[in-house]
């Protein structure tokens, strides 16, 4: 019996024409890829050679976990299209190898091959149908579809269907016992009729149509949304690589291009899926920031100089340079909460791009909100953002016996108080409570006192890298001077930057062991050194600060503290942990006002009130301020109040009035 196989170019004459077309398509393809690669490579290099997270990469790239999360249908749609496409593409590659290099597609191998391709084709078609169901039947909210998306989807659909036509017609015109593709066979039955000669003609016709569309796809790929096939895995790979260090100020000064290689890849990886905008606190508050449009707008600016044909790179007349790459003041609305990054299936770090543009604004003397300028002036002059004088930095500790390094305290462990708990009279009690709790537990620590300089986390986020660097070194020098090896940060912003960013500037800071106060308190409770005994009968909900949760994965420590307090009943908001909705205070937003009717924090407080909680607990001074203000401005004073974790714990542990 004849082995099942498929003859390449069966029933086809002028195969040379196909080769010419294929060569042209390939040339166009490689030209496009070359242009893209050249565009990506035109950026400056970040120092990210700290290793690749393979597990995460596999999950995100091969299993597209980012698309599935919270969107099973979308995940399925993309999975079917993606794997259908890949298998069909591999099929073509194998067939080429089979034809030109060595013949192996016969017998059982061929059957597996052929069935796989059929399944892939079916998957592709199903995926595309699902894509349209999602758009026009389910009408998924917040989906953005532009004309070019139809080109992409319909082209794929057309290629898949014509593939089946071709196959069916071949099976009809030349019946073989292994007419395994019953579906294709039947489809053709329903559409095409006539003599064998006619079917052979139809086969030739559809073969050419299929081939030409496929070649068109190949040629079109680098110039379309399809580029994400390359850009997304590249971006995810770069994203999973750890920084080894930031560029120094000297190096940054010498950088002549606008964006890093990684950032340029980000622009090309975006497929406008809009997940970012759905979760963006600023977008939710109807402020003019849309992370998706930001990437598009700044991406268009960045690509404007790349000369990639047919690719959207339309610069607005006012986009003169990086500082104006994003028009207007939208960049200042970003809270750098990183929820967009969390949900982005292709790992685009919008806040990183926004930081770049903000930095350019600041360096070029462009439009920077006056309050941000004043905050920076204050950090420059007073080493804190609140224009507090150095002499008042320890006012919070009045009446407490707090060991201070400069006064000879002997400790390796520094309690980094932070500017807001030190100067904001509403929050000084946080610092006092923390100190009382730690001292009650005989926990060894000391503070830098008046010498402490602003951690400058938000200084970096608003783009003032120079000032950030200066202040960071002041703190690092203090850590070195006093032989500090361990840091307990009261504020998540200081915690984040001391833990993740200081070490990227100075090797000595790499060795610092930085923990957040909630981690310490949790451990001290677990060890029985802090005993929450007094009952605090309260229904509480916990608001995850972005810089503690999403940025650093600390979700359980504060919750465990709350659970340890007798009487506290913990309820969760719908958006918690990784999905926590920002208070609106990150990324310098403490100093940027919008004209939105509803403040970001008011949205969050409303969500907290919904849970029936009497108190919304947080572990961040910025969150506290914002939520507390929102309770007042939103008119929720009768319903809920805001507390810091340490405050609630202190109520259960300390004698009333002891701090």
């Amino acid at each position: 019996m004849e082995q099942p196989y498929r003859e390449v170019f069966w029933n086809i004459s002028y195969s040379w024409l196909f080769y010419i077309l294929a060569a042209v398509a390939s040339l166009v393809f490689f030209y496009g890829i070359y242009k893209r690669a050249a565009f990506w490579m035109s950026g400056w290099s970040e120092r990210r050679n700290g290793g690749v997270d393979l597990k995460r990469l596999t999950k995100k790239v091969l299993f597209t976990s980012g698309i599935f999360s919270d969107d099973i249908m979308g995940g399925t749609t993309h999975f079917l299209i993606m794997w259908g496409f890949i298998v069909l593409f591999l099929g073509t590659v194998l067939s080429t190898i089979d034809h030109w290099i060595f013949h192996f597609l016969e017998g059982k191998v061929y059957i597996v091959y052929s069935v796989s391709l059929d399944i892939a084709g079916a998957a592709l078609i199903t995926g595309i149908i699902l894509a349209y169901v999602r758009r026009y039947i389910v009408k998924r909210k917040n989906m953005v579809t532009i004309v070019k998306d139809h080109v992409v989807l319909l082209l794929l659909l057309f290629i898949a269907i014509t593939g089946f036509f071709m196959e069916g017609l071949r099976l009809h015109a030349n019946p073989v016992p292994w007419s395994e593709s019953r579906v294709a066979y039947r489809v053709v039955d329903a559409i095409f009729h006539g003599s064998r000669a006619h079917l052979l003609f139809e086969h030739r016709l559809w073969w050419w149509i299929h081939s030409i569309s496929s070649l068109f796809l190949v040629a079109y790929l680098p110039f379309s949304k399809f580029i994400h096939i390359f850009a997304a895995p590249t971006n995810l790979t770069l994203d999973s690589m750890n920084y080894t260090s930031f560029l120094t100020l000297d190096e940054r000064e010498k950088v002549t291009t606008d964006f890093s290689k990684h950032q340029l890849v980000m622009f090309d990886a975006c497929t406008r899926c809009n997940r970012c905008q759905v979760v963006c606190p600023s977008s939710n508050a109807r402020e003019p920031l849309s992370p998706r449009m930001m990437i598009e707008e700044v991406g268009n600016y960045a690509r404007g100089a790349s000369g990639i044909p047919f690719v959207s790179s339309k610069r607005d007349a006012d986009q003169h340079d990086k500082a104006t790459a994003s028009l207007g003041d939208t960049i200042w609305y970003c809270t750098t909460c990183n929820n967009c990054y969390e949900v982005c299936p292709v790992g685009i770090n919008t806040s990183d791009i926004i930081r770049e543009v903000r930095a350019a604004r600041i360096e070029s003397g462009g439009e920077v909100p006056v309050n941000v300028q004043e905050m920076l002036e204050s950090v420059y002059k007073f080493k804190n953002p609140w224009q507090g004088s150095k002499g008042k930095r320890m006012d919070w500790a009045e009446g407490l016996d707090v060991p201070v390094f400069s006064k000879g305290a002997d400790s390796k462990r520094c309690l980094f108080v932070g500017c807001t708990p030190a100067y904001d009279t509403r929050l000084q009690s946080v610092a006092r409570n923390v100190v009382s709790l730690l001292e009650g537990a005989d926990y060894d620590f000391a503070v830098l006192g008046k010498e402490e300089a602003c951690c400058s986390e938000f200084v970096r986020e608003v783009g003032e890298d120079g000032l950030f660097t200066e202040l960071a070194y002041q703190n690092i020098d203090l850590f070195e001077r006093y032989g500090i090896t361990e840091i307990v940060a009261v504020c998540p912003h200081g915690f984040h930057t001391l833990r993740n960013e200081y070490g990227l500037m100075e090797d000595s800071a790499k060795r610092l062991d930085v923990v957040h106060i909630t981690e310490v308190l949790e451990r001290l409770i677990a060890d029985g050194r802090i005993k929450p005994t007094r009952e605090v009968p309260l229904v509480a909900t916990y608001h995850d600060p972005c810089f503690l949760g999403r940025r650093n994965g600390i979700y359980d420590a504060p919750r465990n503290i709350l659970r340890a307090i007798p009487g506290v009943k913990l309820v969760e908001m719908p958006r918690s942990r990784e999905k926590s909705f920002c208070c609106g205070g990150g990324g310098g937003r403490m100093w940027v006002e919008s004209n939105a009717d509803e403040k970001i924090a008011e949205i969050r407080v409303a969500e907290a009130v919904e849970t029936g909680a009497e108190v919304v607990v947080t572990a961040c001074p910025f969150c506290f301020s914002n939520l507390d203000d929102a309770v007042k401005t939103g008119g929720y004073e009768d319903k809920i109040k805001v507390m810091d974790v340490s405050e609630l714990l202190a109520e259960s542990v300390l004698e009333p009035g002891s701090s």
């Binding site: 309050n371 224009q387 009279t425 509403r426 100093w591 006002e593 007042k632």
Partner: protein
């Protein structure tokens, strides 16, 4: 005999109250050190001003010239340079520390050999040494400075420190000071006055002012203060830094460069109490000051003081009022 001269300040046909304050100081110095207190009016038509001043000071001297209608230091100095030569050694010339005195006196000092001290709150003559107290470092320190007054001295006096004196039982004399202007080629020219753009509020008429200062910290806190003011039926006013930052309009600024106000209640929050501000609060019925800093100079002029975070207090006030309605 050496004298102490008060240069009258007038603008748009009106004599400034500050002139009377300086007359009070001149008379005080006169009594203490045996100096003759005299007022000098430089104007295009000095009579009316002189008549007004003669109620308070025994001797009024006038210099009349069409060029003196509106103040320009050049025109004033052209007469005052020869005039101070006539005043004799040891004479002291007083001007208010205002836009008028600040412009004129240091310049006159540079153009004559007389030393100048500005913005003084107290004066004392120690032989030929003229000693003054001045408030420095935002009113947190007082300095003593001195100059050699043997040839005479020029002084600008902080406004609002001295009270206008009682009228004399016998009116003072008025006579022209026979001095003519030194010829000068004029390099400055007065063009006109301009009222700062008026807003919709008139804080000078308010009986209750809630006034905010630097302590408000952030533009976003302005609506909060505005809301509290509304609830308390107060009019919102502010100190200079708030206007400099353009968070509130100039029409709401209390102080020498803003408006002078006479409310029944003045509730100042987050205002440290720079004199330029305090000088704008004339005769408030009750002056309540809220400031975090127990050493804020404002507590030295307020009737009631509260050392507390203004925001905490704003919240408490709002809550209390909310509860009452």
């Amino acid at each position: 005999m050496a004298s102490v001269y008060v240069i009258a300040e007038h603008r748009k046909g009106e004599l400034g109250d500050v002139t009377l304050e300086n007359i009070a100081l001149a008379k005080e110095l006169g009594e203490k050190y045996g100096l003759a207190p005299k007022a000098i009016v430089l104007a295009s038509s000095a009579r009316a001003f002189a008549e007004e001043l003669a109620d308070y000071i025994p001797e009024v001297l006038t210099i009349e010239d069409p060029s003196l209608e509106n103040f320009l230091y050049e025109d004033y100095a052209a007469f005052l340079r020869p005039a101070v030569d006539m005043f004799g050694p040891g004479s002291i010339v007083l001007c208010p520390h205002t836009a008028f005195g600040m412009e004129l006196m240091p310049r006159l000092s540079a153009e004559t050999s007389l030393p100048c001290i500005t913005d003084v709150t107290e004066l004392e003559l120690d032989g030929t040494r003229l000693r003054a107290k001045r408030s420095i470092y935002n009113g947190k320190i007082v300095s003593s400075v001195s100059v050699d007054a043997s040839k005479g001295a020029l002084v600008t006096v902080r406004t609002g420190v001295y009270q206008a004196p009682d009228k004399l039982s016998a009116r003072g004399t008025i006579e022209g000071l026979g001095v003519s202007a030194e010829p000068v080629r004029k390099k400055t020219e007065f063009i006109g006055y301009r009222e700062a753009p008026a807003g919709e509020v008139d804080i000078t008429q308010a009986s209750f002012l809630l006034s905010i200062g630097r302590g408000i910290k952030d533009e976003e806190n302005i609506p909060r203060a505005a809301r509290l003011a509304e609830k308390m039926h107060a009019v919102l006013s502010c100190s200079r830094p708030v206007v400099d930052k353009k968070w509130l309009g100039k029409e709401r600024q209390v102080g020498t460069s803003g408006r002078t106000v006479k409310p029944k209640v003045y509730l100042a929050m987050g205002i440290s109490g720079a004199f330029q501000h305090i000088a704008g609060v004339k005769g408030a019925g009750v002056f309540i000051a809220v400031n975090r800093d127990p050493k804020a100079p404002i507590f030295r002029v307020a009737d009631y003081g509260v050392v507390e975070d203004m925001f905490k207090l704003m919240d408490a006030l709002e809550e209390k009022i909310g509860g009452e309605r």
